[in-house]
Amino acid sequence: MKTNMISGMQSSRFFPRRLALSMASLLLVTQPLLADVAYVSNEKDDTLSVIDLDTYEVTATLDVGQRPRGIILSKDQSKLYICASDSDTVQVMDLATHRIIKELPSGEDPEQFALHPNNRHLYISNEDDALATVVDTETNEVLAQIDVGVEPEGMAVSPDGKIAVNTSETTNMVHWIDTESMQLVDNTLVDQRPRHAEFSKDSKVLWVSSEIGATVSVIDVATRQISHKIDFKIRGVHPDKVQPVGIKLSDDGQYAFVALGPANHVAVIDTATYEVIDYILVGRRVWHMAFNADQSLLLTTNGISGDVSIIDIAKMKAIKTVKVGRYPWGVVVKTTEAKTK
C-alpha cells in the first residue's frame, strides 16, 4: 500500500526519496507492525470510520449515536468520547472492543468538548441551550452548568488545566471559565461566528477561528486581549469562501494549521511571525484536523466531499484521500506501540 501511495506522485524528481522510502517500507514489513489508527465521526451517517494510517484504508465503520460531531480521546487513549448531538448524550467507547461502554449526561445537543488534563472533567458545549456543561467522566456527575452565549461551539482547556474557554457562534465571544470555581470570569469579543479554540502548549496563547469573519484571532491568555489577527487570501478563491474552522498547533511550536472550510484549503501559519506561509489544497469544505503520533501527517475531515485528506507535513501537500461516510466532522488519531519503537 505504501508503494501505491508513492507511485501516485507524478514527478521523477522524487526518485531518490522514492527509492529510500520503498526500501524503508520493505524493512518495515519484516516487523510486526501496528500503525496509528484514525477515528472519524460521520455526522450524517451516525457512524465512525476507522482508518489504518499505515495502509490508508478504512478498516471498520462503527455505529454510534445520532449526529456524531466532536470526538476526543481519553488521555491514556483507551477510550473515545463521542458527542452524539441528536441523541443528547456523550458516548464513551472502549477502543479495545469498539463497544459503547457508557453514556454521560451531557446536556442537550452536545457539539464540541474538551477534556481537562486531570482526565476526568469533560467540558461540553450545549449548542441549543447556551450552556457549557462540566461532567465527571468517572462518576457520571454533572459538576456545573455555566451560562454562555448563543450557540456555544468551540471548547478548549488550557494544558496547565487552569482555564477552560468556550466560543459562542451567534454571540461572537470567547467565554473564559475558571476551572477551579467552574464560573465564568470574562468574555472577549471576536469576529463573526467563532468556531474553534486551541491553546498553545505553554497555555499562554489562545487561537480562535471566526468562520464568517474569515479571521483567526490570537489572544494573550494573561490579558484576554487579542494580540494578532490573521486573515487569508488564496488566489482564485473568492474571499467569502474563506471560512476558518479547525485549528491545530504543531508541538514544536513552529506551525499553526487552519482549516478554511469551503475554500478547500488548509492555511499554514508561521507562529513566530503570524504570517501565512502556505495554503494546502484538500477536499471540499474542510472542517477539523488531527496529527498522527509523530506529527509527520495531518488529517483533515472534508464535509462535502465525504473524505479525509492526509497531508504530509514535510512536503506540505496532501498525499492521499480516503473516502469515509457522509459529512465527516471530527477526527482523532490513536497512537500504537509500533510508533514508539
Binding site: 467565554h175 464568517i212 471560512q243 469551503p262
Partner: protein, 409 residues
Amino acid sequence: MTYKISLTAHYTKQKRRALCRAWLSMLLAVPAMLLSTVILADVTTKIGYLAQEIDTGPVLSNILPEPEDAGLRGVDLAINDSNTTGKFLKQSFVLDAFSDENSERIIERAQHMYQEGIHSFVVNLPASTLNTLSNSLPNDVLILNAGAKDDQLRQTNCPKNTLHTIPSRAMLTDALGQWLKARRLTDLLLITGPTDDDQAYTAAIKRAANRYGLKIVAEKAWDFDTDLRRTAQREMPLFTQTKEYDIVVVADERGDFGEYVLYNTWYPRPVVGTQGLTPVTWHRVVEQWGAAQLQKRFEKLTGRWMGEKDYAAWAAVRTIAEAVTRTNSEDVQVLKSYIASDAFELAGFKGRKLNFRSWNGQLRQPIALIHPRSLVSQSPQEGFLHPVSELDTLGFDKPESQCRVLERF
C-alpha cells in the same frame, strides 16, 4: 420528530381573529415583563415592531396558510438571542410590538413609540405604509423593512432611513433566472395571476429573462374561477397548450391556483416561480452553514417552522443588535453609521457574511431555490460574476438604482 406547520389551518376566520386578539394582548404584556428585568443593563435598546394585517382574499389552495404571527416570532427569537449576548456586555433589548389592519393607526402608534424613545423599527408593512412611515418620522430613526419585496422601494422611491432585510422580487427572480440559465432551460411559458403582486412578480421575471437571455415563448393570464381542486386535471392541460416550452413559470404570490399547475401541464415540464421550484429568503429545508441550529431554536420557541418573514425580521433585529454589541451604544445615529460602514458584518446562516448595499439599503444575501421537501440549489450560481460582490448579481446593482440611501444615513 413531528412538525406542526399549520397551527391555524383548521381555524375558521372568526377563531383566527380571536386568536389574533389574544396574541395582541400577550404582546402588550411582554414589554412590561421585559422592562422589569433589564434595569441592571448599562445599554438598553428599544425596538419597535409594526405589522399590518393584509387580507389577501380567498384562495383555491388554502391548505397551508401563512401563520398570523409571521415576522413577529422571528423578532422574538432575535430579541432572545441578543439578550443572551447582551448579558455579558450589560446590554439589553426590549421589544414593543404592534399589529393592526389600519395603516393610519400604525403610523400613529409609530409616532407614539418615537415619543417614548424608540428609534429603531422593524416593520412588516406594505410599500405604501412603509413610505408613509418613513416620511412621517424624524430623521433620527432606523427602519428595517422585513416584509415588502417591492422593487420600486429599491429602485426609484427609496424611503429614507430604511434598510431592507427581505429580498426584493428582482433578487428572487434573478436567483431563479441564473439557475434556469445554468440548467439551459431557456424557453418559458409564463402564467400570471390577477393580483397586483402577481403582476409585479411577472415584471420581475421578465427583467430576469431579459438579463439572462431567457425567452418567454408564451404568456397566459390566469382568469379562471372554477374550483381547480376537482378539475385541474381537465382544465390545466388545455390552458397550458401553447408553443412548446422548456419550463413553466408561475406568478401566483398568494397561492391561489399555482399549486394545481404542477403535473398538469400540456407538455411534461417542470414548474418554477411562486410554486414548484421556488426562490426564497428562507425555508425549513435550509440547514447548511449552521442553519440547522437556527431552525431548531426557532422551532423550540414557536412550535412551527421558520418562514421568510420570520427570517427577515430576525435578521433585522440581529442587525441592530450587532451594531449595539460592536459600538456599545444605543444612539441610533451611532448604530446607523456603524451599519453603513465597511466594518459591519452579519452572520446570517447563509454561508457568508452579509451586509447592506450602500445605494438602496438592501441586505446582500444568497437566495435558496427549494421545493417543499428539499433544497435544490442556492444562487448566485457559479460563473455569474461581478467586479465587487457576486451577491450583487441578484437584484438592483448600483447603476440600476436611483437610490443613495446610506449616503444620507
